[in-house]
């Protein structure tokens, strides 16, 4: 187990600056997820921690030791890649023992460690097979096993589930979470999939254009996004955004976008609200409740049944608002409905800076 501490990191690939002056601390035993769209620099950051990229500036400490210029093999890390990267000419067993054999570890110890990892990952029957004889899920478990036998301080995952089909993904995701619970080792996990991030992470780091936009627990990032980008990136369907203005009358603040007038007395403003400020209101679909006595009204234009819930899209004065509805009531398109918005659960963003207010 080891912590990772990154200071003022800048990384350039060719002439492009991918990461500029980034700071990040990963505590011991934490499951940290780097989340962002493709090209945001999350993989580059991970590869820099692994020592596979050259760093332009800054320092990377792993387990309290400066590893900025250390060889990848000296960094006490194990890494799992999206394409599995198994050595095709070696059996599963030899794939897993490759690093230990290079280290010159005694054969008995290698054998013991490989058996142990194979047991944890249910790979015992496959040890003599070649990677070409394995399915995608098995390949990725071998890749995890290869990182496991090294008993590394930090595990790095580079989109490990992205090549798997939906069912295998959820299975392996659960296995990974159990593995972390069992090993309690530090894990850094890169993904563009918000479900991976929400389910696995102790903390999520949302990145865009080489910068960290927000760091926080999954619930925090989901419920209190720091800015418009984070708000829109997390959640399916995405957060509803409505542009409008703030109105302050007699100590109470309201969001106004005619005919919508939402009381914001339950909202925790970071700075005193100013009247007339142009803002964007963000509401999660689950915070829009369709009720007969609702204060707002609109017309249903689309219903997406999802089995255990349905997504109802409501046309409200030109805004398409999605609402997640649990329960047995069946809604039809073109049906007029009334609904309420929970103002205390909403997020407000400044239209100019796109930051949370």
């Amino acid at each position: 187990m080891a912590n990772v501490s990154i200071r003022n990191l800048s990384v350039s690939l060719g002439d492009n600056e991918i990461i500029n002056n980034l700071d990040l601390d990963v505590t011991e035993g934490e499951f940290l997820v780097l989340l962002g769209p493709s090209g945001c620099g999350k993989s580059t950051l991970l590869h820099s921690i692994a020592g596979l990229n050259e760093v332009a500036d800054g320092t990377i400490e792993i387990g309290g030791q400066d590893m900025t210029w250390a060889d990848p093999s000296q960094r006490n890390i194990g890494m799992v890649f999206q394409s599995y990267a198994l050595y095709p000419t070696m059996t599963v067993e030899r794939n897993m023992s490759f690093a230990l054999r290079i280290k010159g570890m005694p054969a008995a110890e290698i054998e013991h460690r490989v058996r142990q990892a194979a047991e944890i990952l249910h790979l015992e029957p496959l040890l003599k097979r070649k990677p070409s004889q394995l399915s995608g899920g098995q390949c990725q478990r071998v890749a995890i096993g290869r990182a496991l036998v090294r008993e590394a301080g930090v595990f790095l995952f580079d989109e490990p589930l992205s090549n798997l089909d939906a069912k295998l993904r959820t299975e392996l995701r659960r296995e990974l979470k159990l593995l972390h619970k069992r090993l309690r080792s530090t894990m850094i996990y890169v993904t563009h999939d918000q479900v991976d991030a929400m389910t696995l992470a102790n903390r999520i780091v949302v990145m865009r254009n080489g910068c960290i936009l927000q760091i926080g627990a999954p619930s925090e990032v989901y419920e209190k996004p720091e800015n418009l980008f984070v708000a829109g990136f997390l959640g399916t369907p995405g957060m509803n955004f409505i542009n409008g203005k703030l109105a302050v009358t007699a100590g109470t603040t309201a969001f106004v976008a005619m005919p919508l007038n939402l009381d914001l007395s339950g909202y925790a403003f970071r700075q005193p609200p100013t009247a007339g400020r142009a803002v964007t209101l963000g509401i999660r679909p689950e915070h829009i409740r369709i009720v007969p006595q609702g204060s707002l009204q609109g017309v249903i234009c689309l219903v997406e049944p999802m089995g255990n819930h349905q997504i109802v899209w409501i046309d409200c004065c030109g805004n398409m608002i999605s609402s997640i509805v649990h329960g047995v009531i069946e809604y039809r398109p073109d049906q007029p409905v009334r609904f309420d918005i929970d103002g205390s659960k909403a997020s407000l963003f400044d239209q100019a800076g796109e930051q949370r207010l």
Binding site: H47, A50, G51, L52, D71, P72, S73, I77, G78, M79, F81, Q82, S83, A85, L86, Y87, P88, T89, F98, A99, I102, K103, A143, R146, R150, D158
Partner: protein, 295 residues
């Protein structure tokens, strides 16, 4: 209705004019290559009296393998009359190291260029490729001077070194393109596992390179075996390859021109590449296809 099906069936049994044309072309193309070989084979097992009758397409009346024996062990190459047996052994001695070393170094070059990407690697590769386009003759004299200076001129190591140098562009290109199709992540995983430059090469990359090694072997063996000018200039008197000896056999102008011996000697000389092709034709196509798709 049944009548019309019968009609189509009958038409199908007759080849269409296009198909007849294709076959005619293929047969004539095959004949173009097979006929000379046939004449060589037939001539090599005839006696000189029979050849002088002038029926070059006729099968031998009295079959003899004497010309083959003569070509192998007693034909005159200039002054000496020991056949091309010595040339065969010389060619072997030149071809074996001139195949193994270029493949090893070409693979190492390709590996370094594809995965380690040192600064200036692309420039280095471009310069190397330019070397492939400069005619050998241009470099001949300077190379003779350099080898003489190194004391390697007219020696087996000398001719092997020359073959090594001239094969580097193509070998490097071949392996570089092959390795370009191997995912970088594989290399990165091996780096994290602690593999160094040589260990990753020998334990990971080389075992994965079997198809391209076979292609390179075929190219190198045929290239070196068929080489004439480099062997003539650099190998020296004691190491003259088979091709040079064959030329001497055929051009020795004392007495009658022994067509049957010449034919036998020629077939013997071309036997090595021919064998390689027969054994590995399948691999050759597969390897070229594998190497050519990417990069």
């Amino acid at each position: 209705m049944s009548h019309s099906t019968a009609a189509t069936l009958r038409i199908r049994k007759l080849p269409s004019p296009a198909r007849i044309g294709v076959y005619a072309f293929l047969i004539s193309a095959a004949a173009f290559f097979v006929l000379p070989l046939y004449i060589m084979l037939v001539t090599s097992v005839k006696s000189m009296e029979e050849i002088q009758l002038g029926n070059i397409f006729a099968l031998p009346i009295s079959f003899t393998i004497e010309p083959w024996r003569a070509a192998w062990s007693s034909a005159c190459t200039g002054v000496a009359c020991e056949g091309i047996r010595g040339g065969f052994l010389n060619s072997l001695a030149i071809t074996i190291p001139s195949t193994i070393l270029p493949i090893l170094f070409g693979a190492l070059n390709g590996y370094a260029l594809s995965f380690w990407r040192p600064r200036g690697a692309n420039l280095l590769f471009a310069v190397l490729m330019m070397g492939a386009f400069i005619p050998v003759q241009v470099m001949m004299f300077p190379l003779v001077r350099i080898l003489a200076m190194l004391g390697l001129f007219s020696s087996l190591p000398g001719i092997v070194l020359v073959h090594l140098v001239f094969s580097m562009p193509v070998m490097t290109l071949l392996f570089r393109n092959y390795y370009a199709s191997i995912p970088q992540e594989l290399f990165k995983a091996a780096r994290i596992d602690g593999g160094g430059f040589l260990r990753i090469f020998f334990q990971l990359m080389l075992p994965m390179s079997v198809p391209i090694i076979i292609v390179a072997t075929i190219m190198q063996v045929t290239g070196v075996w068929n080489d004439y000018i480099l062997g003539l200039v650099f190998a020296g008197r004691d190491n003259l390859p088979m091709t040079v000896q064959l030329n001497n056999v055929i051009n020795t102008t004392t007495g009658v021109r022994l067509y049957n011996v010449n034919m036998a000697a020629t077939i013997l000389t071309s036997l090595a590449p021919l064998t390689i092709y027969f054994i590995s034709g399948r691999w050759f196509v597969r390897g070229i296809a594998a190497g050519a798709v990417k990069g």
